[in-house]
């Protein structure tokens, strides 16, 4: 298989397979989780403004009192790389082409130099949070293969995307094919790793906010 054939394969069959596995995997996992069981709550609720699942959904974007000082790198690094990933995925012209192909809608992209800059910042932030994970005793203790695997599969598409867009390291065709392949690996990994938090974080925040909101505590 030469590099063009490789590119055609990753763009064609491999993309279809990974997208299908992603969709089936996500549906399976979400049904597995959200159809389990709910315990009823008979306690008379206490109504307090700001105390609800919906409020918590929003409030947990921000560090609670004293927490930023306790772990600034977690917050700063976390904000930067999550926002960076969102910008790269949803505001880079070639990605928008792909999105249009899949769901038929599109919107304005950011200029490539800006995406380039965001990519570098995202890569630096990701390396920083990894270094912090390795250095901080409690994070290192809590981290297993799962955490490092998730980091690698998230980091690779960003790195290879940057290399492809800037024609670095290998030929453009090869780096582009590697980029698409790494993105496919990421897609397949999401349902079966802790990257599933992309989907579960919202109901989790809601459940926590709702149960504490019922007690009248805005959490």
């Amino acid at each position: 298989m030469n590099e063009l054939q490789f590119l055609s394969w990753v763009r064609g069959p491999a993309l279809q397979i990974s997208a299908t596995l992603f969709l089936i995997g996500i549906m399976w996992r979400l049904i597995e989780i959200y159809s389990l069981r709910y315990h009823p709550n008979f306690a008379e609720p206490r109504r307090v403004p700001g105390a609800s699942g919906w409020h918590t959904l929003y409030r947990r974007f921000f560090p609670p009192e004293g927490m930023f000082e306790a772990s600034p790198i977690t917050y700063i690094g976390g904000y930067i790389f999550h926002i960076g990933l969102a910008i790269i995925i949803f505001l880079f012209d070639p990605h928008l082409g792909l999105i249009k192909e899949f769901i038929g809608i599109s919107w304005n992209a950011l200029p490539s130099p800006i995406i380039d800059f965001v990519t570098v910042v995202t890569l630096v932030a990701m390396v920083t949070v990894l270094a912090n994970r390795l250095k901080c005793p409690v994070k290192r203790f809590l981290s297993g293969g799962q955490e490092y695997f998730s980091w690698v599969v998230t980091f690779l598409p960003v790195l290879t995307g940057y290399l492809a867009a800037n024609h670095l390291l290998f030929s453009y065709t090869t780096t582009l094919a590697l980029h698409i392949l790494s993105a496919e690996l990421l897609l397949i990994s999401i349902p079966f790793s802790n990257l599933l938090h992309i989907f579960t974080v919202w109901p989790s925040r809601w459940f926590n906010g709702a149960v504490n909101g019922q007690r009248g505590v805005p959490v």
Binding site: S35, R37, F42, C136, S143, L196, S204, G216
Partner: protein, 418 residues
């Protein structure tokens, strides 16, 4: 597999629900929960990270409720839980968790860790992996009605004593009273002034109240140890007592866990809403003051600070009444750093203070409270939980701090205008 382990796995399978599944799938091990846990911040031991304490629950969830987990178990790729694992986790689930809920407040993913610890204790306790002190307290509660073994005759002696010394009426089994007060054994034996305060306050507010001879104990060691059947039995005594005496409101005393057990867990334990209202004493006092039923002396000029008991505030939802009362009582009130729902635990909740193995650790954990107290430059500390009070007293004495403790209810009673 031992019978105990089998029972534990069965119970854990029962308690795992959708929120727990959602929480366990949301963790990215960012470690922020550890920064909110005083056992971790004061010792630096990473094993005390709250999410790590939940590892047995996570493993049971994964192996029983996920396809990938079931496949890995069938292929022998994942290790089943053993009795030894549960024995090792006893320290993490009981000795180093006061169920203060601070970790649940800070998790950016919204994971309610304390909810899961409470559920995990169900499995741990049924397998016999609970601290001896808490087991004994629970046994005493089943046998005598009180974790400290306080029986009705002892309560009657205290009542007679109060009536003789103060001339105040402490009604027992008065049908149709508006309020029924329940007490923690600690308040009956160690702090009887609390009952005196209530008698004074009720008299002044013109309200009828009563104690119930069949249900005077407020605390629920069934909730602390994590056995719902026992917790249900204990809460049912109060429900039956309140319904028999036809009271409108049951007052939970200055005890944090008693309040959450009765107010928030109780209806779910008995499987129906109550026919009466449950209020914490601070809510009742705030109502009386705002309705003008209690008139207080002008505020004191000394500097005071307040320790928010976790179960009453963060876990119980009593956020403002204590502040309203303090404003009326104290002119120079300095809140601690991280006050209200952000407050740090005293280090003795969740059955930890009933557990002799934790004494050394409790004193280390107390350093967080010491730092908070020192920041206020106040020598007068008010609180509203008998268990916090005992634990705070222990820490204050050990570190030779020049701090005097006050009960908020007693402070209100002592400052009533004649």
């Amino acid at each position: 597999m031992s019978a105990g382990l089998e029972r534990a796995i069965h119970v854990l399978k029962e308690v795992i629900d959708t929120p727990i599944a959602s929480y366990l799938n949301s963790c990215v091990h960012c470690g922020l929960c550890a920064e909110a846990c005083l056992f971790h911040t004061e010792t630096g031991n990473p094993r005390y990270a709250p999410i790590y304490k939940l590892e047995p629950l996570r493993r049971v969830y994964r192996q029983e409720y996920t396809l990938v987990g079931r496949i890995s178990r069938a292929l022998g790729l994942s290790k089943p839980i053993t009795d030894d694992d549960l024995a090792q986790w006893q320290e993490l689930v009981y000795d180093t968790c006061t169920m203060c809920g601070r970790c649940s407040l800070v998790c950016p993913m919204g994971i309610d860790l304390v909810y899961m610890i409470r559920r995990l204790r169900e499995g741990m306790a049924i397998a016999g992996h609970a601290p001896q002190g808490v087991i004994e307290a629970t046994k005493r509660t089943i046998a005598t009605g009180s974790p400290m073994g306080v029986r009705l005759p002892a309560l009657k002696v205290q009542i007679a004593h109060i009536q003789l010394e103060t001339g105040l009426d402490v009604p027992l089994d008065k049908v149709g009273a508006e309020y029924m007060l329940v007490l923690s054994s600690m308040e009956i034996i160690n702090f009887p002034e609390f009952m005196v305060s209530i008698a004074k306050i009720m008299l002044r507010a013109g309200k009828t109240w009563t104690l119930c001879s069949e249900a005077f104990e407020a605390t629920n060691s069934g909730v602390q140890i994590g056995v719902s059947d026992i917790a249900r039995l204990i809460v049912s005594r109060i429900v039956q007592g309140a319904e028999k005496l036809k009271v409108k409101t049951v007052i939970s005393p200055e005890c944090g866990h008693a309040f959450t057990a009765l107010r928030w867990e109780g209806p779910n334990l008995i499987g129906r809403p109550y026919t009466f209202k449950v209020q914490h004493i601070l809510e009742v006092l705030d109502e009386f003051c705002s309705q003008g039923l209690l008139k207080l002396k002008p505020p004191e000029k000394d500097r005071y600070t307040f320790h928010d008991p976790c179960q009453i505030v963060r876990m119980g939802g009593v956020l403002e009444p204590q502040r309203n009362l303090i404003k009326l009582l104290v002119a120079d009130y300095v809140p601690m750093p991280n006050t209200g729902k952000y407050n740090w635990c005293c280090g003795g909740g969740g059955g930890v203070s009933a557990n002799e193995d934790t004494k050394e650790l409790r004193l280390i954990a107390f350093k967080r409270k010491k730092t908070q107290l020192e920041a206020t430059k106040s020598k007068r500390l008010i609180t509203a939980c008998a268990n916090c009070r005992v634990n705070l007293e222990e820490g204050i004495e050990y570190y030779r701090m020049d701090t005097t403790l006050f009960s908020l209810t007693e402070l209100v009673a002592d400052n009533l205008l004649n």
